[in-house]
């Protein structure tokens, strides 16, 4: 027979260890800490910025919660009189406008007749847009039509977006009228 030669101290140690083991087992201690309980409140310490939904002409207010240089959550702005915190399914997805991997992050250019897109920088893009707008406008400008001064171009059209605010639409309309654009339209004509 194997004799268990335990003295009192060893016995106490052993029973202590047993109790501790049991306690740990009973408490459901899980080694799979992958699902760590570090989950703090999602929008705690986030910066909140109010914005206007860019999708339709209603203009719902949205609160954008940002943290660690990314958008962690978006929700209807309860203080906005238009939507009082409510949103539709499309407005609710606003966060993906920033976080989606499908989002374009660089200007892309497709030359006339080409089948592929090229990455260009913003300076080239804006310069090219300005140059071609001026070329088109100058070559198509009509001063007088049927004896009436019209100062217009019919080769350019402008399509505004629902996300534009009052000031932006004012500036846009002023620029387009200055160029002589008569086809001034808006996307949100519902």
């Amino acid at each position: 027979m194997v004799e268990m030669n335990l003295n009192r101290r060893q016995f106490l140690k052993l029973s202590g260890a047993t109790a501790a083991t049991l306690a740990v087992v009973e408490l459901g201690f899980n080694e799979k800490k992958a699902y760590a309980k570090s989950k703090e409140f999602k929008i705690a310490k986030a910066t909140v910025t109010p914005t206007i939904c860019c999708y339709c002409g209603v203009g719902c207010g949205i609160l954008v919660h940002t943290k660690n240089n990314t958008v962690v959550y978006t929700e209807g702005d309860p203080d906005n009189p238009i939507n009082e915190g409510k949103l539709c399914s499309k407005g609710t997805t606003l966060r993906q406008l920033y976080t989606s991997e499908k989002r374009l992050t660089k200007p892309l250019y497709r030359a006339p007749g080409s089948s592929k897109w090229e990455v260009k920088d913003w300076d080239w893009m804006l310069d090219t847009i300005a140059k071609r707008t001026k070329d088109t406008r100058d070559s198509s400008f009509v001063d007088v039509e049927n004896g009436i001064t019209v100062n217009k171009t019919e080769r350019i059209a402008s399509l505004g977006g629902a996300a534009l605010d009052n000031e932006e639409t004012y500036l846009l309309a002023k620029l387009m009228r200055g160029l002589g654009v008569t086809y001034l339209e808006h996307q949100a004509r519902i």
Binding site: N7, R8, F11, L22, Y35, E75, G76, N83, K86, T92
Partner: protein, 275 residues
């Protein structure tokens, strides 16, 4: 502690699905692309990554007219939850607000809750740990308990623009539901409050426009008897027996020790006996 209820008036729902998106947005759940189902409905039922699904039901009413019925479907947060009863790991529990939540650390992915939920709202998700070993966890709506903790309402309720969903004190919401049923009975003669007694009432209370079966809901859901037997009788007895066994073992060990010590005499550290 005040018990809270998510009140869903299906007759006010316009089927915009913002509640589905809001749920994914708050809980960071990935999209689940689906095939066309033959109706506007996007998913057949709730899944581990889609905690609420908007049902679209084309129903012919008694007069031969087509009714287009919508229902926001998600966890009911039963007062007597079958999932809580059957969970062998005690991973499912009630919060002080009345919601039923799954502790992901304790869940072992056995799937008993999935099999026993009378409303089929719990699903398992498969994961792989870094060694490539597969494991599963059960997921369902939490009623945004983390938001309630911070004084916010559930994400789906917050976004609902028709007022089809409201969140508040249980008694107030149930009164509201009963009042609403009286208002709509002219158009929907079968309208009713769905707060089934068989599961002790629920913390998602519906005003349904039609009988529950039209929405694919059980008329009288119950906690399975086997589940009650397991949780309320078998498990406590089992625990007691385990305790008794442990006590007996320890007792035997100590007695044995004392007995042996007596035979050999005390060592220099004093031994275990003063007899």
């Amino acid at each position: 502690m005040t018990k809270y209820v998510k009140y869903v008036d299906v007759t006010k729902c316009d089927g915009c699905r913002a509640c589905m998106v809001a749920c994914k947005n708050w809980n960071d759940l990935p999209a689940e692309p689906t095939e066309f189902l033959g109706s506007v409905q996007s998913h057949v039922k709730t899944t581990a990554d889609t905690w609420n699904v908007l049902q679209y039901i084309e129903h012919e009413n008694g007069k031969g007219d087509l009714e287009y019925l919508f229902r926001h479907s998600s966890c009911f947060h039963c007062t007597d939850a079958a999932c809580e009863k059957v969970c062998p790991e005690n991973a499912i529990s009630y919060t002080k607000y009345g919601s039923v939540v799954i502790d992901q650390d304790k869940c072992v992915g056995c799937g008993y809750c999935v099999q026993n939920c009378p409303f089929e709202v719990i699903s398992l998700k498969e994961y792989k740990d870094k060694n490539g070993k597969e494991y599963r966890k059960a997921h369902k709506c939490t009623m945004c308990t983390d938001r309630i903790d911070e004084g916010l309402q559930p994400a789906c309720v917050t976004t609902c623009h028709t007022g089809a969903m409201e969140f508040g004190n249980r008694e107030v919401m149930i009164q509201k539901a009963e009042k609403r049923v009286k208002e709509i009975q002219g158009r929907y003669p079968n309208a009713m409050v769905y707060n089934p007694e068989g599961v002790g009432g629920t913390h998602t209370v519906y005003v349904l426009a039609e009988k529950p079966s039209v929405y694919g809901l059980p008329e009288n859901p119950k906690v399975p008897t086997s589940a009650v037997a397991w949780k309320d009788y078998a498990q406590p007895i089992g625990k007691m027996m385990l305790g008794a066994t442990t006590m007996a073992l320890v007792g035997a060990f100590v007695t044995n020790k004392l007995f042996n010590k007596e035979g050999k005499g005390l060592d220099e550290n004093g031994g275990g006996s003063d007899e």
